[in-house]
Structures are given as C-alpha cells and as structure tokens.
C-alpha cells in the first residue's frame, strides 16, 4: 500500500551547504494497519509525511502510495490519501460544512454521495453543532475534527496523521485515537506520527523509531522489545537514541 525505499531528502542551506533531513530510510505499510513513526522533534517525521502527501519532492529514493509514484504521479497520489497535520489548518472565513464540502468537490465526489458522506462524518465525529460555525471561532479540538472530516471526505485508502494530537486536551485526543482505531477496522492504511510514546504503544501495529533522519529500528512493539531485551518502551527509545548518538560521535571523531 505504502512503500518507501531509500528515501532521502536534502535541503540546500547557505551555511551548512546541504542539510540532510531524511537519510535513506525505508519502510512499508499495509491496509488495515496503523504504522507509527515515533521520534523527537526534528527527527524528519514531518518531512517524510510531507513527501508522502506530495507537498515536498524526494531528493532520492522511491516512494509509492497505492502503486502511484509521488514524484511522477503526484496528482494521482493525492486522491489516495487523506492528510491531517498540525500544518494543515482550516480556513478562518469558512464554516465547517462549507470547508468539508469544498474539499469533497475538489476531490470530484459526486453531489449525492458527498452529501451522504458529509452527514455521516458530521454525526460520527459529533460535529453537527459546529456545522455553521466559522473556522475562526472554533476551538483547537473542533478544528481538528473538521480537518479529519476534510481528510476522509473522499474515502481514501491511506490516511496520514502528523502530530495530530498536539495541542488537544485529553478528552479530544482520546476521541481522536478512537477514530483512528476505527479507520483500521475499515481496512485503511494509517500512518501516524507522534513524539508521544503512550499513543504509539496504545495504537500502532508496527512502529519505526526515527532520529536525525534515520530509522533506528522497525517492527511491532513486541518485536522491538524482544529484540532489544527491554520491558519498557521508553527505556528502549532512549537506549536506541543514545546508541545512535555514540556511533555518530565516534564516526565524526574518527574521520
């Protein structure tokens, strides 16, 4: 469903010349699976997800979504995904209903189907009371719900959540995680990035731990704990990161 092979993304930077944000990472995710990208801020998660959603172009490597290549077929890839991120805000001067309808029509959803789906989504996400509320007047939680409705309106096979729970209170965050769980039940391929370990433990079928543009380890929670002989996921995370830092220091001092 999603295949990432040797993906590299570099930015040209006046001072550092080339800044490598993502350094040759590979992973893949299947339908009916929640794939977690866990890593601290600046690990490169957002860059990877932006490449998946065709907002950025890869420098090297191959990324395909449902068989379409993100570099050469970006328009087709965008029909396959719903993208919710902290950077995909809602329009201030549009009501919830208008916004979801607008994106539905951009995706070319037929009028009757669109209406049906919107009614369903609005009731499922409990958004009926904010139907006619302008984006500017919504709380963070309401905005996040609208974003989710916007991302699901075309019923995409792949849904991507980038730091989707950041800034949400416990209640809303919990409801969001439940929604994501339901998406898995519907057979969608979900990519979920976060820096919060509890969310990963609770939700994800498979996890890739990212740090400084690299994937340090990948597998199910159980596999990861077993292979590093750890009982606590947090301990495992810190161990991987400090090992990487040590290797990095050793490598740079030896050259």
């Amino acid at each position: 469903m999603i295949e990432v092979r040797e993906l590299t993304k570099t930015y040209s930077d006046l001072r550092r010349d080339q800044f490598v944000a993502v350094d040759g990472i590979s992973f893949h995710a299947q339908p009916g699976e929640i794939f977690g990208l866990l890593g601290p801020n600046g690990a490169g998660k957002t860059t990877v997800l932006r490449i998946l959603s065709t907002i950025l172009r890869p420098t090297a490597g191959m990324v395909s979504v449902n068989g379409f290549d993100v570099l050469t077929q970006p328009d087709l890839v965008r029909y396959q995904i719903g993208f919710v991120s902290a950077n995909t805000a809602v329009y201030d001067r549009m009501t919830a209903w208008e916004l979801v309808e607008y994106f539905g029509r951009l995706y070319g959803v037929e009028t009757n189907t669109l209406r049906e789906r919107m009614e369903n989504l609005f009731s499922k996400l409990q958004m009926d009371e904010i139907r006619d509320l302008l984006g500017a007047k919504m709380s963070t939680g309401m905005k996040q719900k609208v974003s989710i409705a916007r991302a699901l309106i075309h019923d995409p096979p792949v849904v991507i959540f980038d730091e989707a729970t950041s800034g949400l209170d416990v209640l809303v965050a919990r409801a969001l995680l439940d929604t994501i769980g339901e998406l898995r039940e519907q057979g969608k391929c979900v990519i979920f990035s976060t820096h919060i370990m509890r969310e990963v433990e609770r939700l994800c079928d498979r996890i890739a731990i990212m740090y400084r543009g690299h994937v340090l380890s990948e597998g199910t929670l159980h596999e990861l704990l077993e292979s590093y002989q750890q009982t606590d996921f947090e301990e495992l995370f810190f161990r991987l990161i400090s090992e990487h830092d040590q290797q990095h220091t050793a490598a740079s001092s030896s050259t």
Partner: protein, 745 residues
C-alpha cells in the same frame, strides 16, 4: 487543467474575500466615501473663495477722484462687480484723513502690521497726489495743443495693495481688490475717451477670435484621456495587491496553504483560481472608483454650473460615454497584468507583513510606466507600444480620443506584449507554487558573500536559473551603458572595430567567464559537442529557406513602423565603405553568430532549461535576445529568429548548429542587399521570385510561402532528432502525462 476545479477555487476565494472586512473596505467602502469627501473639500474651497467676506482697509480715500466713483458710502461701488451684490463681500474701513500727516513709510509699516495681525485682510493705499495727477492727465488729454506726454505733468503714482500670500483670506481679499481696481481703471479710461469724443475702439482696436477644431466631446475626451487611465491603473494595482497578499502570503501564514496543496487541485488550477479572484477584485476596485468618481463629478458639475459666471474656465464636463466604454474594455488586460504580477510577488512572500513590503518596489517599478504616457511628448509608436503598461495606456488614450487608425496599427504589439507579460507572470506564479524553497522558505541571513560562495561551491553541470538571469541582466546592463560610452561609428573601420569589440566584450567574454566560474561543466553549458549526422546541413538549409520569410517580415515591420530614415542612410553609408564582401560577412555575420550564440543559446538557455519547460526557456531566451538588439524593429525580428535558433539548440544539443544557422541567416540578409543586382543580371530567370520595389527588392508571395513550407518540413525533421532533456524537463513531462499513463496502467 480542470476548469471545474479552477471555478471551485475561484468561488471559494471570492466568498472568502467578501467575508473579509479589510478587503471590503479597500474595494467598496473607500471609493464610495473617498470621492464625495474629496468633492466636498474642493467645493468648500471654492465656496470659501467665493463667499468669504473680507475686511479691507483703505488709506487715502480722500485722494480718490470724484468720478467715476470707487467707493459709494461704506462699500465699493456696486457697478464694479459682475454681481452687484458681491460688493457686500468686501467690508471697507476708511482710514482717518489725518493719515496724510504720516510719511509714506510709516503708513506702509502700519498697513503691514494691520495685515499681519489679521485686523484686515488687505490694505490699499492711495498716494496723496493720486487724484490731482489723474486730473492733470485728463486735462492734458483734452487739450489738443499740448503734447500727449509732458514731463511737467509727470506720472500717475500707483496705489499699493498690501496683503499676505500665506493667508487664504488675505489672498482672496487681494484678488477681489485687484478685480475691483481693474474694472475701475477701465471705467476711468472709458470716461476719458468719452469726454474727448473718442470711440472706445481706440483702447481695443480689435479682438482676435479663436476657432478650436476640437469638438466639445473631443476636448473633454482629451482631458479625461490623460486623467482616467491613470486613476484606473492605480486602483487596479491597489485592488490587485491586497487580495493577492491575503490569498497567498496570508494563506501561508494561516497554515491553510498546505491543506490546499495536499488536495487534488493542481498547482496551475490553484494559481488560475486565485488569479481570477484577484482580477475580479482588481477590476471591481477600479470600476467602483470610476463610478464613484463619475457620480461625484456629475453632482459637483451641477453645483458648479450655478457659479459658472464667476468661474468661466470650468474644469471640464463629464467624460464622453465611449471613453468610459474603452476604459472598461482596457480594464481587463490591465487587471490581468497587475493581478498576475501581484500574485507572483505575494507567493514569494512568507507572511502578509512581508508581502506589504513588496508593494512599494512594485509601485516604484510600475509608477514610471504609468506616468510616462501622461508626459506631453510621449506618443503611441512601435517603441512605446512595446513597453508594458505604457503601451496599453497610450493605446487607451488614442482610443478615448477616437484616433482609431493609430490605435489599430498598434493594437497587436500592445496586446501581444501585455499577453506575454501576463503569461510570464502566471508561469512565474505557478513555478513559485511548485518551488519548495519558496513555499517553505525560512528566514535566511542576508549575506551576499555567503550566497555567492554557496552559488560557486554548489554549482551544477549547467548554470542555475538564477545564474542565467544574472548573466542576462549583466549583458543588458553592460550594453546599455556601452551605448552611451561608445561613439557612433563614422567610417567602416570604426564600425568594424566597435562591432567586434562589443560583441566579444559584451557577449562572448561574460558568457565564457560565467560558464567557467558558475558551472562544473562549461562544455555542456556552452553546448560544445558535435551534432549528429545531417544536422549541420539541415540547419544551413533551414536558414536559407527561412530567408525569404525573414526578409518579408522585416520589410512589413519597416513599412508598418518605419525606422528613422537618417539611421538607414547612415548604416548604408557605413556598409558601402566596406573594402569587400568578406570583411562585411566577417564583421556583421560571423562575429555576432559566434558571440551572441555563446551567450544566449549557450549560457542563458542552458540555465533557463532548469525551468522544466523547454518552450518557456526558448521563449524567454529569445525575448532577452531581442531586447539585446538596439533598434526596436530589429528586436522584434531577432526575437522571432531567436525562437527558431533556441529550438535548434534544444533539439541538436550543439552550439555549432546555432552558429551555422545564425551565420547563414545574417550572411543571406547582407548578400541579398549587396549582390541582388548582380545576381539578377546573372540569373534573369529568378525574377519570378524576386521583385524590384522602391529602394530594394522583395520576394514574391508564392516564393515565400513555398520556401516556408519546405522550412517547416525541416523543422519536423529536427523535432524527430533524439535529444537530451534536463531532469526537470523529464519530471515535468512525466507529471504532465501522469493521468494518461495511469489509465494505461
């Protein structure tokens, strides 16, 4: 591109803007209130000038003659005013008659103080001997024995008006006083003539009558045709800029841009949707301003007509209806151009605040273009019609003045130039939307040294787009200044020296140096590779086959837009001075072919191909190539030829093809001028193809069409050559074909 998506984005953006109070204020509220307010202000000023009562102090009233009377009772004589009641607007205070006891200097000092302190708005002092001298003069006039001018009688002393230019009231008082004195003086003169039985005609033996060939409508159109385009342009720009900032930079700032970018709308659909929105608001702003201005003007005219007698030279009537129609027609390209420019700039801005900073530079660049047409000496001609904005304004002016013949002649260059500018601006905006570094730009330290080092250190095999544009700008600036510095050649040897030096110094050398500094692979940049198979003969043949067409285009251009004859005669004289045909070909064909190709098809085109669209790169290079040619008629021809050479460069990948084509093209142009007589004498059968016309030769139409058809065949052959695409071009091709390929899958 799906137009349904463009429509969707357009209607969303329009609704969004209409819900924004700031936009509504600029496009609707401001014009509705601005002009009535301005009108009221003007009206207030006029009313003030007309109706404000002023206080006048008259010193030495006892020295006034009895007849005709200046003062009656405590007011100026009513007969001296056009409206008799107007004398009440000047309150008169007479000075005590003891003022005579004071010296004239003391009197003046007192009068000045009275004006400065504001006690009086103006003072008039009549000197002591005023009426006596007038009387003496009158007597002398009546006595035919005395000479007309007698020293013993002396001059009539002048009354003095004292006022304060900086105080409005005082200025009004002075003007009214001057008017009263003028009428009074005329009365005195008339009285004298009457007493001596002389006709009044003596004072004004004749009055010249004037006939203005312009009709009332034309006169009004002439005034409005300078004013209205200016107003429309300024508002079209303002109306485009603010929505553009909100639509692009604002969207970036609010974080909704990423939402839109991950939707299935293509970048070009987003840009078109936004562009149409900006255009709508730009034209609406201009139109609302126009309407508000017209309504205000109509209302004011009505009011002013009542005052017409006091203000004989009324500013003007309403603009004729046809002018307004043309204005609205012209609004479409004007707003399209400004909208596209604002959109591209606003996309570049990181935030709305940064966007605001770009308004000033944009205004500074456009302002001269807007002001230029208002200058009296600037006329619509080929040169001015090709200046963006200016050409459009001049065309509009001639349409408003009903000079349709002039307008028709220039409508193609003006619309062509405007459309080209619009398309480039739109292309630029779309590319900005595709450019990650623009969309996710972070603030970088401003450090030219660091930037230059970065550019050299990270140079690619071929120059970057920035390097290509840098090179083009550099060449054009060099040429511009060199035109001032280099003397106009007066002989063949001077012409040869200047041409060779400037070709090498301004084209070849900069391109070579930049290729070595700014690229890793100068050979690839300058297309130093052998072309395959029959490419070279094909290029030669193509140039030869296109020669009749090129000549015909030049001749047509020359006929429609004649270049100064002086210049042609001068060039002909210089060419006649050439020692032989080989020298002519070396200087005017081979040198430019090598030097110009290295710069334009070598460095610049190689850089611009990173745009990802070969046709845009060729077009832009050709336009720059055209601009680099001094004379405007030549520039147009060069731009067209440039497109063909650019295409050969892309298809053959070799600079030799370009040089050969350029050399053949120039050589044939020279040879056909110099050797046509000999040629026709040698081969009289060729006369069906070449006709002798006044001042030269022209190719017959069948010959031109036939050769052009063959040329097209060769171009088709070129299109089938295996050629290398840049990575950006390959990617773009793949993206453009994605739907087709996906269906095939």
């Amino acid at each position: 591109m799906k137009w349904s998506n463009v429509k969707l984005i357009f209607s969303r953006e329009v609704r969004d803007q209409l819900r924004d109070r700031r936009t509504l204020f600029t496009i609707a509220v401001l014009p509705i209130f601005l002009y009535p307010l301005l009108g009221m202000l003007v009206f207030q000023v006029m009313q003030f000038t007309r109706e404000y009562p002023v206080r006048i102090w008259i010193v030495g009233s006892e020295h006034l003659p009895r007849q005709p009377r200046l003062i009656e009772g405590t007011l100026f004589s009513a007969g001296l005013f056009s409206y008799p009641k107007d004398n009440e607007l000047l309150e008169v205070v007479l000075a005590d008659s003891d003022s005579d006891a004071k010296g004239s200097e003391e009197l003046q000092f007192e009068a000045k103080r009275a004006v400065q302190s504001g006690d009086f708005d103006a003072v008039i002092i009549f000197p002591p001997s005023f009426s006596e001298q007038l009387e003496r003069f009158r007597k002398q006039l009546g006595d035919s024995r005395l000479p007309i001018y007698d020293e013993a009688v002396g001059e009539i002393p002048s009354p003095r008006i004292i006022y304060d230019q900086t105080r409005d009231e005082s200025r009004v008082a002075k003007e009214r006083l001057a008017m009263v004195l003028h009428n009074w003086r005329e009365n005195i003169g008339r009285e004298y003539l009457k007493q001596n039985n002389i006709s009044e005609i003596v004072a004004k033996p004749f009055v010249a009558e004037e006939t203005d060939v312009a009709s009332e409508d034309q006169r009004r159109a002439a005034v409005w045709s300078k004013l209205l385009p200016f107003v429309i342009l300024i508002w079209a720009l303002t109306g485009a800029f603010y929505p553009a900032i909100d639509l692009c930079a604002g969207e970036k700032e609010r974080g909704t841009l990423e939402t839109l970018l991950c939707s299935p709308a293509r970048r070009s659909e987003i840009v078109w949707g936004k562009l149409l929105t900006i255009m709508l608001f730009s034209s609406a702003t201009a139109l609302l301003n126009l309407v508000s201005m017209s309504v205000t003007a109509t209302l004011m005219m009505g009011q002013l007509e009542q005052l017409e007698q006091t203000f004989p030279e009324l500013p003007m009537g309403m603009p004729p209806l046809i002018s307004l129609v043309w204005l609205i027609v012209a609004l479409i390209p004007v707003s399209a151009l400004f909208s596209a420019l604002s959109l591209a700039l606003a996309t570049f801005a990181r935030s709305a605040k940064e966007g605001q900073y770009y308004l000033m530079p944009l205004l500074l660049v456009t302002m001269p273009l807007i002001v230029l047409p208002v200058l009296p000496s600037v006329q619509l001609e080929l040169g001015t019609s090709l200046i963006p904005v200016t050409g459009l304004m001049l065309l509009l002016k001639s349409l408003m003045e009903s000079d349709y013949q002039l307008a028709l002649l220039h409508v193609i260059p003006v619309i062509g130039m405007t459309a080209t500018c619009c398309l480039f601006a739109i292309r630029w905006a779309i590319d900005q939307f595709n450019n990650e570094s623009v969309l996710f730009r972070e603030s970088e330290r401003v450090d030219p040294g660091l930037w230059l080092r970065h550019m050299v250190r990270n140079r690619g095999d071929t120059p970057s787009i920035g390097a290509a544009l840098l090179c083009a700008t550099f060449l054009l600036i060099l040429r511009f200044f060199a035109n001032f510095q280099l003397s106009t050649p007066e002989s063949w040897s001077e012409l040869a020296t200047v041409t060779i030096i400037s070709q090498i110094a301004f084209f070849a050398a900069p391109a070579l140096i930049m290729a070595f500094i700014l690229t890793r692979n100068p050979r690839a940049t300058l297309l130093f590779r052998m072309p395959v198979g029959f490419t070279l003969p094909a290029a030669f043949l193509l140039a030869a086959l296109l020669h009749p067409t090129a000549m015909t285009i030049s001749a047509q251009l020359q006929e429609l837009y004649p270049a100064p004859e002086q210049l042609q005669v001068m060039v002909q004289k210089l060419i006649d001075g050439a020692p032989n045909i080989w020298a002519l070909l070396l200087v005017l064909a081979l040198t430019p072919a090598i030097c110009e190709e290295l710069a334009f098809r070598g460095f610049i085109l190689s850089g611009l191909r990173h745009l990802g669209h070969p046709s845009w790169a060729i077009l832009l290079t050709s336009l720059l190539f055209g601009v680099a040619h001094g004379i405007i008629q030549q520039s147009i021809a060069a731009s067209i030829v440039g497109c063909v050479i650019g295409y050969l460069a892309v298809q053959s990948g070799s600079i030799l093809t370009c040089i050969l084509f350029h050399l053949t093209h120039n050589s044939l142009a020279i040879l056909s001028q110099v050797l046509m007589d000999d040629f026709l004498a040698f081969l009289p059968a060729a006369k069906w193809a070449v006709q002798s016309i006044e001042g030269g030769y022209a190719y017959s139409w069948p010959f031109v069409v036939a050769s052009l058809a063959l040329a097209v065949l060769i171009l088709v052959w070129f299109s089938r050559l295996p050629h290398q695409l840049y990575a950006e071009e390959q990617l773009q091709e793949a993206i453009d074909n994605q739907t087709v390929r996906a269906v095939a899958k």
